[in-house]
Subunit: 461 residues, 2 copies
């Protein structure tokens, strides 16, 4: 099964929709994976999308719905009847996906859909899942899992599992519970099949007890991701405050969390508000980017103000090294902040303390500052710049690098302490801050040195 | 099982190692997950690490080895005998992990270890895996998998699986092959157990055929990750050029690839060479950061040159808006490049073409440029700046934003076409380029406007 997506296929589908050639459409879509069909629908106009969606057979349509971009999905859902949503869609998907989808419906439509659901167990599962706050294990978990009582025999368990597991794609783990529903341990399918010498062995004799790693419904999603990644867990059981097993989170859900976290950090570091991509409209893209540019502009205007205050007209030669000072300050700040953001994302109890971090960063800053300011001193003397100017540039650069290292470390750590995303401190924010501070340092140093050592004449080369 | 790591524990372990209190060490480590023990060993000195490692029982020691930071692992390995590596370590881990570890050994030690391996099947698996180029599916795959012949009965298959599956932690999928070893289809454990009415049913009657998504041994790792993520595949079979099944890649291997890709992009965007983290030494950290700072400095010196050429002394007021122009150009460039890098990472056949991308980016640039230059015109007039200077700033800003949008899109796309990582175009590289070009545009515009509209006097406020 290869990836057959192409622009020609998309164009063909559009024609066939126009002409109502359902058989051609169905023949082509039958060969495609739901993820591919979703990608095609993302490119269609609303009416085309609805038409195509309705040609799909029920179960596949449900899978396709889960693959759509969020905005496309919302549009498509608003064109479907409540009965279509309830009977064709929701009853064919897992409770956690259902909860995600229903969250986007209007309150009235939500009520209609819930009333139409025939499987009451599923309905109550969905309502339960919708109560958890977004970004917690509760909101991430699915209710579908295989749960067996420790007192069952293997034969009983297999019978029950056949019933419970019907709708579950991958049975990673079988959860063993007591009569109250409290989680006792886990059992892999492999162990159940291979370890039991007879079908009458009880589950109690087979499972590993006492060592199950669980997360609470309120554990934040990124902490869940960290635990599953660190301990290589493919499916983690979720328990409520009474240690009752209420759901499970699988590795593919967590992979999405990891990807989103990484994307978010990357976008913040690049000065883009969350959640845009190339496919979005020009207006959306501009809305995500303009605010950061304005922050940078505001910084630029502050710089303009300081340059005025420091009377550039009296010492116009000072302009020469302004870009170098500002750029280096910005670069150092971003480096420091990025390292802190990554360290915070992979926090460990064995990590260095704040003071150890600052001390280390001071060391790195000192090394970088020494090398950079020696180079600038050397180069500017080679090019016969005025000595006072060279000295100003070197001393200012040294101070700026040290300062930017410290602030780049300290700012994200402080944001994090106050519960603000430390990644905010990367990108345009820190560059701008360091631009301004760099210039203030540079002009202050220059003001003193040029007055002290300054020659009256001024020649660039 | 909770996370019990703490600095006290680390200190205690150090004391016990010093005093040779093996029982205390073993008691504590028995309670910890290999990943946690790995984290502790990462903090120890070499001799301490070796001592601690040797107190672990064989299988756990092998798991711990896989969790160590690469540099710590190399040091530890060089302190172990070839016999320890072969008999205690390699024979207890999967072939793909073994290949990774052995790659770090000296040629001589590698030969010694290979000669000591008792399981010849494993030895040849390892040798096979070591031939694949890093970053390909072949280097990522494991040889351990469950493979059944289509002509076997369920009873036969279970017997075979019990043998093959002994060392496999998760049997995600059972691979069905013909007599030649060609992959015919897959079967989940669940289906085999639930779907067969009798133990004498043959596998041929149970498996799904024809629709198995595979990757070739030479498929790049990031492409494997993209496919598995898109199609929600937990374990993908790897075939050679003759369509023979040679291995499988599981989702946890791929999760590491995704994390590494994201980390790499993030580090490049922040101006840090690959693969450093806060725990590294000051020298390592400086080595990863200094080259980027030097790139920025070189840019700053080019800027200094142009400022000299454009004779800042004659128009010192031009210095006022230099930081604003440079910063905005840099910010716009980074935004554009970051969006391209992400789009390339999630490439699809339905994507816009290069020209459509450039056209869209031009649209976004136009919008941003209009807003930003209007603001700068307005603000600088409000503050009674010279009209010619305000106009210069506004026109230059407009041009710089458009230019930076275009180059920020075009540069990573071009790098990618020539097989260079497009993420290189984010971070200091693009900021520096746009700094310089921004200033050149600004001074060129200023040169013309100040001569044309310039007042003779110059007042900042």
């Amino acid at each position: 099964m290869q990836n057959n997506l192409s622009k020609e296929l998309l164009a063909n589908l559009r024609d066939w929709i126009e002409e109502g050639r359902d058989t051609s459409i169905q023949e082509v879509l039958a060969e495609l994976h739901p993820a591919d069909i979703g990608e095609l629908i993302n490119e269609l106009r609303r009416e085309e999308a609805v038409y195509l969606y309705r040609t799909l057979e029920e179960e596949k349509a449900a899978d396709v719905m889960l693959e759509l971009d969020e905005d496309v999905r919302e549009k498509l859902l608003s064109s479907l009847t409540s009965r279509e949503i309830a009977e064709d869609l929701i009853e064919n998907i897992d409770s956690d996906d259902a909860a995600d989808i229903l969250q986007d419906l209007s309150e009235q439509k939500l009520e209609e859909v819930m009333a139409l659901l025939e499987d009451e167990g599923q309905a109550s599962d969905i309502i339960d899942l919708m109560t958890y706050e977004e970004g917690t294990a509760g909101a991430l978990m699915g209710k579908e899992m295989v749960r067996v009582n420790q007192n069952w025999t293997v034969a009983q368990a297999i019978r029950e599992m056949r019933r419970q597991g019907e709708d579950i794609e991958h049975i990673y783990t079988i959860y063993v519970v007591d009569d109250k529903g409290q989680l006792l341990g886990t059992l892999s399918m492999k162990n159940m099949i291979f370890a039991s010498s007879s079908m009458r062995t009880t589950i109690r004799e087979l499972y590993k007890d006492g060592k199950v790693r669980t997360v609470n419904v309120n554990t934040p999603a990124d902490e869940v991701a960290r635990v599953m990644q660190k301990y290589d867990i493919v499916a983690i059981p979720v328990v409520n405050d009474n240690e009752m097993l209420v759901g499970r989170i699988t590795i593919d859900d967590v992979m999405d969390v990891i990807q989103e976290e990484a994307d978010k950090d990357y976008q913040l570091a690049s000065g883009i508000s969350e959640d845009v991509e190339y496919g979005d409209s020009i207006l959306t893209l501009t809305r995500a980017r303009l605010p950061w540019l304005l922050i940078g502009m505001a910084g630029g205007m502050c710089s303009a103000y300081f340059i005025g205050v420091f009377d550039i007209e009296a010492n116009p030669q000072m302009a020469i090294f302004m870009p170098l000072i500002a750029a280096t300050g910005g670069n150092v700040g971003v480096q420091s902040a990025a390292l802190v953001v990554r360290a915070l994302a992979n926090q460990s109890a064995l990590d260095e303390t704040l003071w150890q971090k600052l001390a280390k960063e001071f060391g790195v800053g000192l090394l970088n500052a020494t090398v950079c300011s020696l180079i600038i001193m050397l180069v500017s003397q080679l090019f016969h710049f005025e000595f006072a100017l060279s000295l100003t540039a070197a001393v200012a650069l040294f101070s700026v690098i040290i300062f930017a290292s410290m602030s780049g470390t300290w700012i994200p750590l402080t944001l994090n302490r106050f519960g603000i995303d430390p990644a905010l401190a990367t990108g345009p924010f820190i560059t701008t801050t360091n631009d301004i501070i760099g210039l203030v340092i540079y002009f202050s140093v220059g003001h003193y040195f040029l007055r002290t050592f300054g020659e009256s004449g001024f020649s660039l080369f």
